[in-house]
């Protein structure tokens, strides 16, 4: 006992009557604060469909006309066809790619895996404009082929074929990444057990590996389908009439009631897909039953098949990464030389002026995306903490609303804000706060998801032990929880930053006058087919938007 008593310690007194009164409450002030914060965000998200609904209900005739018009049904058919075919094609590309880069002795596996994931950072409108510039009837491909073949015109890529090609090439990484992660986690003894029970390698794949991959395949496919439904840039650029394109056209034509109704239908479609995914996930949880670290998989020997496998992997990388990169480089080079040529003719602009003209849009993009990311990081925290630490009806509702905002395409959120701003909040209309609010609604699921998974890694006993040592919940949150989930918060923030930089429709519609971002700059240039002028801002956008993620992953290593 001596060692313990030779220092005096102020003892905390036991409860006072006032503390007894406070103890009545089940929720500490800290959790009350979280509840209020989460409720505000959820209210903001729910405002979007609610307002669209009111708007559509307020003009019944226009709504009914829109819903009954055959045009609406054609658009619905187009949208579903594109989403379905891109999802299937992405699976067909991504599944073999994931298998080859994890389970086989393919040379340069890690290298191919990194390259195959990279198209994720390409905005769809960028991939679309590069492919358009190559594939139009008199495009780069035709110009290259003409001396050899004498072909005068190539078939037009506009409409479904182009949209299908471009969207598949940039969205397959979602399925690739989810299935690859699952394959890496998979216990090799599962397939080995199947083999020992007499299954051939092929049937072991079909009966064990593929069913094991099902949840990740579904999760990845959902991401792809939602990406297609939300996409605005590629379908508009390639002139394929899905909902987002038509909604934007109606908005430009001031047919706001029609636009609101179409937006509601689009929200309904995405909501149905989201629900289907939830259902199909059901109760299947493929936990590893055995504890302990997984053994390393002995890679399957490809042997003679190495040649076709390499051909497959490199052609995917070629079309999804090399072609867009080379196309951008080509247009940048053309732009650089063209401007010199123009200056020789006495034109006003030279390359330096062009580049310095990018400084302001770059600053706008950076500051808006940074603010958006910071806001999303801060506002996601109450939702994630409640969902993980206070599971219950209210927190589950909050979390589900947040994830359901995945079903709100950028164009829809932007429209709702335009209506709302024009009618009720003129002073906020086309101001930075309104654009940032739209960013938060659009991208908060990414921040919540990242924070949630890193909160799940923090054992609740860490927080409980803090309380048994006499600290209040807020103090524990600051001293224990926050430092431990910081990597998750930062990763989520970096992801939000990346998507804010690329975001197009909400930025186009909601950005304040004179607030030109890189994305808007690219869009206005490619809209007028000034591909050469779009190349420089695109390269700058790609560089800046990937910076935080790159820094984070460097620090992790």
């Amino acid at each position: 006992m001596s060692a313990l008593n030779n220092t005096a310690v102020r003892l905390k007194p036991l409860a006072t009557p006032a503390e007894w009164m406070r103890a009545r409450r089940q929720w500490s002030p800290f959790y009350a604060f979280l509840l209020v914060g989460a409720a505000l965000v959820v209210g903001l998200i729910l405002l979007v469909p609610a307002y669209l609904f009111l708007r559509a209900a307020g003009s019944e005739q226009a709504t009914i006309d829109t819903l009954l018009s055959p045009r609406t049904w054609t658009v619905l058919g187009n949208t579903l066809l594109l989403a379905g075919s891109v999802t299937l094609a992405s699976t067909a590309v991504a599944l073999p790619l994931a298998w080859l880069t994890t389970m086989t002795d393919l040379p340069g596996k890690r290298f191919w895996a990194i390259l195959a994931a990279l198209p994720l950072v390409l905005p769809s409108y960028v991939a679309a404009f590069v492919y358009v510039s190559i594939l139009t009837p008199k495009g780069l491909l035709q110009q290259a082929l003409y001396p050899l073949t004498g072909i005068e015109r190539l078939p037009s890529p506009f409409g479904f074929p182009g949209a299908f090609l471009v969207l598949t090439l940039i969205s397959y990484p979602y399925i690739f990444l989810t299935t690859r992660a699952a394959l890496k986690r998979m216990d090799p003894s599962l397939a080995e057990a199947a083999r020992s029970l007499g299954a051939s390698p092929w049937s072991a794949f079909w009966r064990v590996t593929l069913p094991y991959l099902r949840p990740s395949l579904i999760a990845g496919s959902l991401l792809v389908a939602l990406y297609v439904l939300r996409d605005f840039g590629a379908v508009t650029m390639l002139q394929y009439s899905t909902f987002t394109r038509i909604i934007y056209n109606r908005y430009l034509a001031y047919q706001l009631d029609t636009a609101a109704t179409l937006a509601l239908v689009l929200v309904a479609v995405t909501a149905v897909i989201l629900t289907l995914e939830q259902r199909s996930r059901g109760k299947t949880r493929y936990a590893r039953l055995s504890s302990g670290a997984a053994r390393r998989q002995r890679p399957a020997r490809l042997g003679f098949w190495k040649v076709p496998a390499l051909a497959f992997v490199s052609s995917v990388v070629f079309f999804s990464l090399i072609v867009p990169a080379a196309g951008l480089a080509y247009w940048f080079w053309r732009g650089w030389n063209q401007d010199w040529a123009v200056r020789d003719l006495g034109a006003a602009q030279n390359n330096l002026e062009t580049l310095s003209g990018l400084l302001q849009p770059a600053f706008h993009s950076l500051s808006a995306s940074l603010l958006g990311a910071l806001l999303a990081m801060a506002l996601a925290l109450p939702i994630a903490v409640l969902a993980v630490r206070r599971p219950g009806k209210i927190s589950r509702f909050f979390e589900q609303v947040t994830y359901a905002s995945f079903a709100l395409p950028g164009i829809v959120v932007a429209l709702a804000f335009v209506f709302f701003g024009a009618n009720y909040a003129r002073s906020l209309y086309q101001t930075l706060p309104m654009m940032l609010a739209a960013y938060v609604i659009l991208f908060i699921p990414q921040a919540v998801g990242a924070q949630r998974s890193s909160l799940l890694q923090v054992s609740p006993s860490l927080e409980e032990v803090g309380r048994s040592l006499g600290k209040r919940p807020l103090a524990i949150f600051r001293a224990i929880t926050l430092p431990l989930v910081r990597p998750g918060i930062l990763a989520g923030g970096a992801l939000v930053f990346l998507t804010c930089m690329k975001e197009l429709p909400a930025t186009l519609i909601l950005s304040p006058l004179g607030f030109s971002t890189l994305a808007a700059q690219i869009w206005s240039n490619i809209g007028e087919a000034f591909f050469a002028r779009a190349a420089a801002p695109t390269l700058l956008l790609l560089l800046l938007s990937s910076l935080p993620l790159a820094l984070l992953s460097l620090r992790d290593e």
Binding site: M1, L4, V9, L14, S461, E464, R467, S468, G470, L484
Partner: protein
């Protein structure tokens, strides 16, 4: 002196399931109480009720004479002065050993000295700057202990404190923890499913089953005089043999056992028999009353399972030099010594 911890008629349900069902006990100052029971018996929930992480539906908890929970009002955990050592130790991974220990101490000049004293006390002097991942499992546990004891809690609560250690380390750490708790005069409640651990560490042992407290008392009493069949079965390798009450004791297949009782003569009772109570001698087909079923090598002894003529099975520990081949006839008898516990219709005689 009033007890340090008092639990009176605690009840806690999760949905329809009564996890803690009318549990009452108290712990005197400086004593260690072991809450023992199979998994899912409610022992951890009881501990969490005392700590304040769960709130009892009914019942009163007093810590050092002050009410901390009474079914309607519940003091938050940080106001209860109940230190906690978790199964996974819950060492803050981003804080150094010293910062972990300092966490519950008020800021001030005394803090560093107190931290140094505590580290010294648990034998980690000089390791204050280490990060948790640089420590062994046993060292981590000592950090958890030092951290919990640093703010001088009224009671220390330990949840399965040894289950994360491997068998070789467990015995040594157990002794160490017992010495530390006794040296600091700490009042403690600890939860375990391991009866050996409970008997070793607990001044008092409380056996729980299906949310109810079956028996609480000194270790020897709970072991030798189980109040319910459950406690008898849970403590040690326990077999039951049939006995018939006579005027001076009980007649069993293993011989006569003197016992004072007030049952009618001829009543059938169940007698609790543990492997150390049964003597085995080589027998013939005529003289033997049992047959060897199996032999298990326990390391320190052999454990024989013997089938009696009435079909019941008893177990017996035998030293290494004695060998009975499987199937041989043996004469099994009760080793005279302490009286064995008898149950009549489920209650102790």
């Amino acid at each position: 002196m009033s007890p340090t911890v008092v639990c009176r008629n605690l009840r806690k349900s999760f949905g329809d399931l009564a996890v803690v069902d009318n549990v009452s006990f108290s712990v005197a100052a400086g004593q260690i109480l072991a809450l023992l029971g199979p998994s899912g018996c409610g022992k951890t929930t009881t501990l969490r009720l005392i700590a304040g992480f769960e709130q009892a539906d009914e019942g009163v908890i007093l810590i050092e004479g002050q009410e901390v929970a009474n079914g309607r009002f519940h003091l938050p955990p940080e106001k209860r002065r109940a230190g906690m050592v978790f199964q996974d130790y819950a060492i803050f991974p981003h804080l150094s050993v010293a910062d972990n220990v300092a966490f519950g101490l008020p800021r001030g000049k005394e803090r560093p000295a107190r931290v140094a004293d505590m580290l010294d006390f648990v034998g980690l002097a000089g390791l204050g700057e280490r990060m948790p991942h640089e420590l062994s499992g046993g060292q981590q546990q000592r950090v958890a202990l030092a951290r919990a004891l640093a703010p001088k809690p009224a009671v220390l609560l330990l949840d399965e404190p040894f289950s994360n250690l491997d068998a070789a380390l467990r015995t040594a750490v157990r002794q160490e923890v017992k010495d530390l708790l006794k040296a600091s005069g700490t009042t403690a409640v600890f939860v375990t499913h391991d009866q050996e651990e409970a008997l070793f560490l607990g001044d008092q042992v409380a056996v729980m089953n299906a949310g109810r407290l079956e028996q609480v008392g000194p270790a020897e009493v709970v072991f030798h005089e189980p109040r319910t069949r459950f406690v008898a079965e849970f403590m040690g390798h326990t077999d039951f043999i049939v006995g018939t009450a006579t005027s001076t004791g009980v007649d069993t297949a293993l011989g006569f056992m003197p016992l004072a009782h007030n049952l009618p003569i001829g009543t059938t009772v169940d007698v609790v028999v543990r492997p150390d109570d049964v003597k085995l001698e080589a027998g013939t087909a005529e003289t033997g009353n049992g047959r060897i079923l199996s032999r298990q090598f326990l390391g320190i002894a052999y454990l024989y399972r013997v089938a009696l003529e009435d079909g019941r099975v008893v177990e017996s520990w035998q030293p290494h030099q004695i060998h009975f081949p499987i199937g041989t006839a043996v004469e099994a008898s009760l080793r005279p010594g302490h009286a064995l516990r008898c149950f009549y219709e489920g209650t102790a005689v």
